[in-house]
Amino acid sequence: MTLETGIFYGLGGLLLILSLLVVTTRNLFRGALALSTALGVMAGLFVLLGGDFLAAGQLLIYVGGVMVLILFVVMFVQTPALFRAPQTNRRWIPALVLGAGVAAVFIHIFYTVPMPEETLAPAAPTSAALGKLLLGDMAVPFEVVSLILLAALVGALVFGLEREL
């Protein structure tokens, strides 16, 4: 077992444990903390798969931005009575069966569909090539995303205003 595989198993196991914690814990604040750690672990997996710029973006946007927002909202709305109540609804057993079924179908597909030959490039910094790609071939999606961000900004302002719906 190479060092790379060992790190992958470590990060992967940690990721699965943390995400199970996210969907099972009663205290939403703990769940949000587990989720932010899981997103950080995911950045480690990106580094392992050669995505250095992606890992930085994941840490900056997800762990630094989205998770702080989620933690704020959890602190706004959570009362002590809320996190002592059961956090799953009555149909959690069908949900569990469906989740296991989704995993089984995906793994079955991955094992039966023939994959092309794996070719590995040496690890190299990706940010320069990624910048050229984003402003070259991917220019249209790049601009559309800026529109989506503008719409989200306006939408968040509209919904967040202090008035009755």
């Binding site: 595989t5 992958f8 990721l15 699965l16 995400s19 996210v22 969907v23 769940g31 949000a32 997996l45 392992l48 798969l49 995505g51 710029f53 992606l54 973006g57 994941q58 946007i61 997800y62 931005g65 989205v66 989620i70 909202v73 709305v77 956090q87 799953t88 609804n89 959690w92 069908p94 949900a95 469906l98 989740g99 296991a100 989704v102 995993a103 995906f106 793994i107 994959m115 794996e118 070719t119 590995l120 490039a121 990706t126 990624l130 790609l133 984003l134 991917m138 995303v145 989506i148 961000l149 989200a152 900004l153 939408g155 968040a156 302002l157 509209v158 919904f159 967040g160 009755e164 719906l165």
Partner: protein
């Protein structure tokens, strides 16, 4: 570490996200489970890029787009959560049937 390892990890992560979306009661927990599913998809994009097409970076570019759209989704979703909480003092998904009765 081969492609199959990463794909199985992301399948398990996605399944955990599906379970969270279906079984959790709180709207915030549902949003967090959706984030888990986004990340499972991102892991697949990066893995396919790394193992099958190492000569270009389209997988990385698409992951950047997904991260941005997920951030926008989280912002709008949390604004909605705050608006719902302010009006009903309740965030249980099963109690929100305003249009139902």
């Amino acid at each position: 570490m081969t492609l199959a390892h990463v794909l199985i990890l992301s399948a398990l992560l996605f399944a955990i996200g599906v379970y969270g979306v279906l079984a959790r009661r709180s709207l915030i927990a549902i949003l967090m489970s959706v984030e888990l599913m986004f990340n499972a998809a991102n892991l697949n994009f990066v893995a396919f890029n790394h193992f099958l097409h190492p000569d270009n970076l389209w997988g990385h570019g698409i992951v950047l787009l997904v991260i941005t759209v997920a951030a926008a989704e989280a912002v709008v979703g949390l604004a909605l959560v705050i608006a719902i909480y302010r009006n009903t003092q309740n965030l249980n998904a099963e109690d929100l049937h305003l249009l139902h009765d």
